[in-house]
Amino acid sequence: MRDLRDVWVYLSANPLLHLTLTLIAYRIGLAIYQRGGLNPMLNPVMIAVILLVSVLTMTGTSYQTYFEGAQFVHFLLGPATVALAVPLYRQLDAVKRSAAAVLASIAAGAATASITAVGVAYALGASRDTLVSLAPKSVTAPVAMGISEQLGGLPSLTAVLVMMTGILGAMLGPVIMNLMGIKNWAARGLAMGTTSHGIGTARAMQVNATAGAFAGLAMGINALATALLLPLVWRLVFGK
């Protein structure tokens, strides 16, 4: 028994363990998602997060310890975001043809995201911290955290709300758009990227290249527009 405990002490202090766990949890999530015919309700990020939180809680591992291993995966988000320029360029003609429609749709979507999120939470009596932290929830995490901080919210709470919105949008988006009879891939991708930033973009890209490119574009423009406009609007409405 003592040997086993030594092995655990060694392993749990080694970043390799949590890097490996992250990859395995995702592989399991992906296998379930693929076995289910890419059903959006079986979102692989959600499955992996549930598995990891369960394992970390059961073994009493802190998020900080976990992140020492997982940071190697997390780091690749930067280069992957840059790489979104490639699918976007491949769709350059389609994007040019519909530039005005793209901007109008993203602007309307970005406004809807903030107004409905803050409005509903306000009506249900949420605290000011929660309201401010909810406002940028459809924006990609690093920008959303910056906006939240600027408005006096809690950046770490915003990060969690952003992840929840991303996963929920990736799950519900395809279902809602099927119900609405939206068949245009550009429109489907744009809605996923505007609502659910990178997680929605990842889902769109798994399904269709055009949808993926418009989703990546929407994520970028939504981040820019919300970062520039939300602080101004917030001061107009709430005074401070």
Partner: protein, 121 residues
Amino acid sequence: MLHYLTILVCCQLAGELIVTALKMPLPGPVLGMAILFAGLVVNGGVPDDLGKVADGLLVNLSLLFVPAGTGIMLHTGLLSRDLVPIAVSIVVSTIATIAVTAAIMSALSPPQPDGKDGRDA
């Protein structure tokens, strides 16, 4: 391959530097995406190997959100304080945002050139 991975990281670094120097309200990688995009426009095409590196990263884009998503375990206290407003707000707002964005884009878009119907899952 390594050549193009280096280019991706250089674009990100350039983005980070410009954002920090000019105090822009953007994450460095998003500006890095704009820089690479401008480069592709100037170049007039996507080099094959750059396409392979980019596709390799983007095929696994979902995986890269797992570490940040697991951060939810840090905030159970904050979340439970305003659980109902947060849950209802996120669900309503997510549905509304999807519906509004998709409806406007769909109404303003020309018919799809390839004529293929979009419907997933």
